[in-house]
Amino acid sequence: MKYLPLIVANLSRNKLRSALTGGAIMLAVVLVCLLMTMPEGLNAILEHAANNTRISVHNKAGMVYPMPYSFTRKVRQVEGVAAVVSHTWFGGAYEEAGRVTFPNFAVEPEDIGAVYPDYPVAPEQLAEFQRYRDGAIVGRQTMHKYGWKIGDRVTLRSTVWPVNLDFRIVGEIANGMAPQFWFNREYLDQALKAQGRPGLGIAGMIWVRAADPNRVNAIMREIDDLSRNSDAETACETEKSFFANFFGSLKGFVTIILIVTALVALCIVFIAANTASMGVRERAGEIAVLKAIGFGRRVIFGTLLTEAATLSALAGGCGVLVAIGLTRVLREFAGWSETLGPLSNFIVTAPVIVDGLFLSLFVGMLAGIVPSWGAARKPVVQSLHEVF
């Protein structure tokens, strides 16, 4: 646009002010991006879950109520079921005194790959997992967090079961957001029996992959029918519904985050508006002369608004880049946490970037509207009167 040189010249008129304003907006956008990673992270998980055909089967009474392991056999026989795997919470703590820092489950190595094709594990690694009883497959996020490599041995002390287990890492889930730790349920079963206990006769949760998405509802109904009137009545739901409910407990926290994000956005408006109005006030004389020469209201409004929006958008762009850089650093410290669960992933994804950029552009424009319109709207003669 031919007015660009004028706009750029005006922005570099008071470099300190432009720098301070730009800096403030940049920091605010960084903050917004970091905060928005949490709700967007949840959305991403829900989106991902919405696109697959997995069904969660759990005891109707609650997650801590187990199901008899024999039930898995019945589930396998339901028509339309492509694969079935059970998850039993081990609650293993790695070094950090008695605290679980990543979810770890006892599963069936033969079935885990079929139920979770979207959590990619190299076929050789799955084969190792099936071959060696003390093997473990670990999500990349946890691998990075502790600097583990394939072949390392780790010990987990269970906070739920009266055993500690030694594992050998044989595979990695090639997904940077995956924190889980899978191991062979036979291994836990044996360890319990070695102590003279009955063994692992239960399943905490059962995950089913349906062959055909259209059959999901029918499959869920059938599984629940199978368990009706037994000691462990089940409630099936799609994976998306499961996560939605799971995140339900985080709703309050997320609401606060959204409120704070809105507050920060409002800050940006104030800062940008303040700068815009200061500029307009100081340049009243020039603006009056421009109007006198023949620059119409729309042009004046347009250039002033573009000025505010440009500064805001540039600062916002930098903010997004800084946020991306920061999250890489935070990734070392973050990851799955007990309080926040998957919230503390702090990964800046595309939606977050779009949020950040859109915010800075939109907010910059919004902030500039009132001062620019005020300056443009005044009749020329009034502007001149005020100045001369």
Binding site: G23, I25, A61, R157, G252, I259, E338
Partner: protein, 392 residues
């Protein structure tokens, strides 16, 4: 000779629009930080107040919370007669066997949450004496009745006196509401321990025991005896320590809040600086005159710093008031914030902004004002009178 305070204050009033916007930015930052700090301190307060320093928590060795612990009847019967345990008026030991389960509850809005249900015997009221029935009565054992904490009441379908509450494998009649000094107990439902064991089909009847120590001096030796007992692999700790550990996760949140505060604070500081720089520029002639009259550089510096600090003080007051109002509104509208803490249980926290939180926000606002105003004040002070007057 310093400039009078009114000089700084009157200048703030002279440009109300600009002052409001700057103070507004600081206010927003104060609100944001206060809310977050309030959230965390409310969480911590809930946790910490749950612990009674006179009580011990006994669990299976290796468990990190009573939800994942199991204890046999024999173990309980052996422990309860240890020396050092207080006795009630009927000379019965104040040893409360408890079973902790987290079943699904349906919320009023159709959502699903894990709630901590504690199976107890009547002696529990003696051990946890912060828990008081405020409406209705305590449940009758073997009648499938329940009493619910204040945080639970109204939150879930059927959580009112007289209603039927559905969880586990049956329905339970709510016969009372209890209060517990705003501790995490208020987010719990209490039922008869035997009935809960049946419902949850537990092999072990109890999760753990809570003991009241007879006197503070005997606490250590009692703890030691329990830890060292060769028959059962048990671990005892102070109830206050137990709950302190539960709230450790709040430390990670503190880091988050500090990060937010720093970023937002710097941003607000830049905004404040901007305003003050513009003020210095606009008042260049005035500053020149003052300096020519004989006011020292320090006097000018102090005057502008005071102006910046006053702006941030105004921002703090506005922000603090808004934050408190907002927290009340959030509480009212959301009925307490549900925090899915460890072990998947929902803790309902009443968001309350404490004095310490406001103090933290005050420090932040002050730092913003002092640092943000420093650059401009310095520039104002360094203006040479001749140049200032000439520029005008």
């Amino acid at each position: 000779m310093l400039l009078p305070l009114s000089y700084s204050l009157r200048n703030i009033r002279a440009r109300p629009g600009r002052s409001i916007m700057t103070a507004g930015v600081i206010a927003l930052v104060v609100v944001a930080c206060t809310l977050f700090l309030g959230l965390i301190s409310s969480l911590q307060r809930t946790m910490i107040s749950s612990g009674d320093p006179r009580n011990l928590v006994v669990m299976r060795k290796g468990s990190d919370n009573d939800g994942s612990s199991q204890m046999s009847l024999e173990a309980f019967q052996a422990i309860r007669f240890f020396d050092g345990i207080a006795r009630d008026t009927h000379d019965q030991p104040l040893a409360s066997p408890e079973l902790v389960v987290q079943p699904f509850f349906r919320t009023r809005s159709g959502g699903r949450e894990n709630v901590l249900v504690r199976g107890v015997e009547p002696v529990a009221l003696g051990v946890h004496d912060s828990v008081r029935i405020t409406a209705g009565r305590m449940f009758t054992p073997s009648a499938h009745e329940a009493v619910v904490g204040r945080g639970v009441q109204g939150r879930y379908a059927g959580a009112e006196i007289g209603s039927e509450l559905e969880f586990g494998r049956g329905t339970w009649k709510v016969v009372g509401i209890f209060d517990a000094d705003a501790s995490s107990f208020e987010s719990e439902v209490w039922v008869d321990v035997r009935e809960l064991g049946n419902d949850a089909k537990r092999i072990f009847p109890y999760s753990g025991i809570r003991l009241r120590v007879a006197s503070p001096g005997e606490l250590e030796s009692l703890k030691q005896r329990i830890d060292d007992d060769p028959r059962y692999a048990l671990e005892a700790q102070r109830e206050t320590d137990y709950y302190a550990k539960q709230s450790e996760s709040a430390t990670t949140l503190y880091i988050l809040v500090v990060g937010i505060a720093v970023l937002a604070g710097i941003g607000a500081g830049f905004g404040a600086s901007n305003t003050m720089y513009a003020a210095v520029q606009a008042r260049t002639a005035e500053i020149g005159t003052l300096r020519a009259l004989g006011f020292s550089r320090t006097a000018i510096l102090v005057a502008f710093e005071i102006e910046a600090v006053a702006l941030s003080a105004i921002g703090f007051v506005i922000g603090a008031l808004c934050a408190m109002g907002l927290s009340l509104a959030i509480d009212f509208w959301m009925g307490g914030i549900a925090f899915g803490a460890r072990t998947f249980t929902t803790n309902v926290i009443t968001l309350r902004v404490a004095h310490a939180d406001l103090a933290g926000a005050f420090v932040l606002a002050s730092v913003i004002g002092i640092c943000g105003g420093l650059g401009p004040a310095w520039r104002a002070a360094r203006l040479r009178p001749i140049e200032a007057l000439r520029k005008a």
